[in-house]
Symmetry: C2
Subunit: 584 residues, 2 copies
């Protein structure tokens, strides 16, 4: 490929709306173009990268006995009625009608389609286990698309679905897939990805893991234990009660606290420890605006995912008006309006004496003891774990918090879809059962952007050779000089004949600086600089994009040198692809 013919503009200025590097570099390098809110077209450079990522995914899925299929992007609403998700999924699901007024959806995930495809096929136990997968476009109407290819509305995704006759068999395959995912990420140049326990969200099921690329710009908050192997997404991390040692039981007293509408204000006013205060955070159910009140200790935050899972339906931050049953700023668990659904966090358990709202304007209780003062006080886990919290696995106070990009996820779905959609098989004894499912996703475009995020410098991406758009980039510094151009052209031919993918920049009248800037933005791992000066010494200058190699190589040895360099790069990647074993 000649660079002069490569479709896509490269430019110097960082676009104003880019807050993360991969987004800015991929726009600046002509990888993609924004078509609409969270909708991109892929230009040839990116399409070459995504094609290579897709090929790696395909190989690894085939290697674990996956069979590739293709589900439609547009699905009849009936299928989503069967699973119940037509109603239960929020506005991320695009619903529309066709010319005959039939209801359709844009599939954002394909559990229903997978069950539909195999429910007649897999009616006897002898067909199990099996896994089907596809690489297909999906559309999810995200409220806030952002960060370039990291959070988009339309994307290419590999989604796989496995079917089993026992939980043990699912777990066995889940572990195999868990390993395959590590191989995929390692082969694509991000072996540093870690798994974390995650929340299953709208997918159903219990156990699930996310593959996280740790980076400060990540959207996900991840909880690590410094003492043991515990890793979880903040959304899923269990928070262990750790009651403060201070405070003694007191008499319950209602006292005036004028203008103390925040927990900080009331603690300051009463000179109380925030660890002995009870904070209310109020939501409403999307369905009917019923109030849902979450009480957590004053120094904790509500984990909305855990709360939502408990409530069992979609909620949103409440708007409380004067006519409502709740008194904004003075809400407490004692004698709260019966209309509200109340959840009390485990961080409030075992505290002898609390400050809490009195459910009347301008008043708080002090000396509140929930176990003593409430009838049947029950405590649930709805708070966010914090830096230094108790590890739910080893029990040590060793929790640290980092950020990451989710590059893949795997779920043990159980029978949610097979049951709701009436898929059954007959076992050895002639009895009927619902098969148990697993599902396994990787976003292709997000993976490309994540690799860029993990491998770039100030000047552009540093693509791992396994997914780089080309393997070698020839810069012919004086294409107007006949001998130089001839030497570069010859190398271009020879490398291609040797089966190497080459991008060849033979533009005339482009300054070396501009040429190198372009090469940096395209991020090809091996670069050959052909110039009259180098040729005077009968050499090419060969460098690597990661700056570890810079050598003058005799013209006659260049192809062999490059082949060796390329092979070393692939070898390095292969070395990172190790067997890993999950302990679920």
């Amino acid at each position: 490929m000649k660079l002069a013919k490569l479709i896509g503009d490269r430019f110097k200025e960082k676009p104003a709306d880019c807050v993360i590097d991969s987004h800015a570099l991929m726009l600046r390098g002509g990888y993609m173009k924004n078509v609409g809110n969270g909708i991109f077209s892929e230009l040839p450079i990116l399409r070459r990268i995504t094609a290579k990522i897709e090929a790696i995914i395909r190989e690894e899925m085939d290697a674990i006995d996956g069979q590739e299929v293709l589900f439609p992007v547009v699905l009849p609403a009936d299928l989503w009625d069967e699973s119940g998700r037509y109603d239960s999924v929020g506005s991320e699901l695009i619903r529309f009608t066709d010319r005959n007024n039939s209801r359709l959806v844009l599939a954002m995930t394909h559990e229903e389609a997978a069950v539909h495809l195999v429910r007649e096929y897999a009616q006897t136990y002898t067909k199990y286990p099996f896994m089907i997968y596809q690489i297909q476009r999906k559309f999810r109407d995200e409220a806030r698309p952002r960060a370039g290819m990291l959070r988009v509305r339309e994307f290419t995704m590999k989604d796989a679905y496995s079917f089993h006759t026992s939980q043990e068999d699912l777990e066995k395959y889940y572990a195999i897939c868990y390993d395959a995912y590590y191989r995929i990420f390692a082969r694509a140049g991000i072996p540093e990805v870690v798994t974390v326990a995650s929340d299953s969200g709208m997918m159903g099921g219990n156990i699930s893991h996310e593959y996280m690329l740790l980076t400060p710009i990540g959207e996900d908050v991840i909880v690590f234990c410094e003492e043991c192997d515990y890793r979880a997404n903040m959304e899923a991390a269990e928070n262990i009660a750790d009651p403060p040692s201070t405070g003694e039981e007191q008499e319950l007293q209602c006292i005036e606290t004028p203008d103390c509408k925040t927990i900080d204000a009331v603690c300051t006013f009463l000179n109380a420890d925030i660890k002995s205060s009870c904070k209310a955070v109020v939501y409403q159910k999307n369905r009917d605006d019923t109030f849902v009140v979450a009480f957590v200790r004053g120094d904790y935050e509500v984990n909305e995912t855990k709360l939502r899972n408990l409530v069992g339906e979609e909620i949103h931050p409440a708007e409380i008006t004067e006519t409502d049953c709740l008194v904004a700023g003075y809400i407490g668990p004692y004698q709260i309006a019966k209309e509200a659904e109340v959840y009390i966090d485990i961080t409030l358990k075992g505290i002898p004496s609390l400050v809490a709202g009195a459910n009347q304007e301008g008043f708080h209780y002090v000396g509140l003891n929930l176990e003593r003062d409430l009838e049947n006080a029950t405590f649930v886990d709805i708070s966010k774990i914090q830096e230094g919290s108790i590890c739910p696995c080893c029990g040590k106070k060793a929790i640290t918090i980092k950020r990451g990009i989710e590059v893949g996820n795997i779920f043990q779905l159980g029978t949610k879809y097979t049951k709701s959609m009436g898929m059954k098989y007959t076992d050895e004894k002639g009895e009927q059962h619902y098969p148990i499912m697993g599902c396994y996703g990787i976003g292709v475009g997000r993976m490309a952007a994540s690799i860029c995020e993990a491998h770039h410098d100030d000047y552009g991406p540093v693509w791992p050779i396994s997914i780089a758009p080309w393997e070698v980039h020839i810069c012919c510094l004086r294409a107007d000089d006949e001998d130089t151009k001839a030497a570069a052209g010859k190398l271009y031919e020879e490398l291609q004949d040797a089966g190497i993918e080459v991008l060849y920049d033979d533009r005339e009248g482009v300054r070396p600086g501009a040429m190198f800037s372009d090469a940096d933005l395209i991020g090809v791992p091996i670069r050959v600089i052909v110039s009259p000066r180098n040729l005077k010494e009968s050499c090419f200058e060969i460098t690597t994009r990661d700056k570890t190699v810079r050598e003058m190589v005799p013209v006659g040895e260049a192809v062999t040198f490059i082949q060796k360099l390329k092979e070393e790069m692939y070898q390095k990647i292969r070395e990172t692809v190790k067997e890993r074993r999950i302990c679920i």
Copy 2:
């Protein structure tokens, strides 16, 4: 791949709703499953075939300097506003809104997206020409999806867009692409595909060609000349006036014709030659229900595509009520109501004396001479060419009519999209122009079904090796016999080691008949039958799906034999891939 693990059911009964063979066979063979009206999932066998077709297309597009990109399936309506197609395209275009009430469409073709992608990039003539393509899902809300994968609503399509600075350059590239398409079809096993001139329809532009696989079950009607190379889609075929030699000029007379509401009835009543009669076919504009009246000679039919192109907007068959300006059954061109838009076909030109409706209930004119009696009579081409009509190319009466499946199409688009979307480039002199576009489509699934239609027998598809799901199918006839199974298993391993794609049927307890029926439905070109009887003679029986080969081959020579057979099959296909040259 072991057949026992292959996802998908095979069955014997022809599904009731299948009217064409490929549809029935592909359902019976477990290639696909219907998900909704015109929406299918591809099972693994079909996905393997479509993947191979995609690979062939990709190679040929890359070979003519195409650069692969990826456009979104979901596009903002704004882009379609720019081209005017948001309004001009009918209900095939799915329109919907997202959570923010932004208008979106499901792309059914990507001209707008292509212009959007490159309009900043290609602002100077030095960037031209270039071609971008994608292989992507599309959705077209067809009124009547049918015939399995032949006419669906959602489909995978390769669509390519080329950009040029002159008509000559477009034509040069168009010819290159024309050839590439022949190579694609030949490589996929259907070299018999022919091109026909076609109507450009909603795409805009003038010259366009369709690639047709001739078959009686085809939806398209194709016009051939037996004397010259003329070939056209019926929709686009020019009809040449061929006035009957009979009849003399007469006086115009209005006469009573009670209950003669059809052209046949009035000709019988008046004992007139149908070739001297004038038939009215009435339409209404979709936009405002204005009447559009098409007059053709009594023995011709209206070509709605040509009429629609003249009218310049969508029309539908009219419903005429008693209060309308037209008198149903008695409509004629003389003194017709001024509210109606009138088109008179060239088949009515030069006829001295016509029978035609008198625009009053129960009356017709006789002796109507359009050139004499109408002011400024103009004749246009809106009739369907017929068997035996005059060839518009060589002028001989040698037209024959056949049917075909459209497997690809190429269009010279002109500046329709670049002009409407404001894409310009600067030429050598600094002047600005709109680039000229070509576009080039192939439906992947339809191509698979067409190949099946072209290559099948009563028992299943006979896939060409280049796109077959596997190259070799091993039937182990007595898998319960240890030696037989060992021999088959060894061959399976050896063939795979030799880089051959093998499907291995080692199911126990399946009768040979059932095993062969399955093999026939899967249609793998080379079959190896391993049985105790054959092994007694130390042989495998090797056959081909097309029944041209049936040989007993010594076990030790089987791999070599199969490799040779495979190579011969590929060689045969390569021989059909010849250079062809277009004469536009």
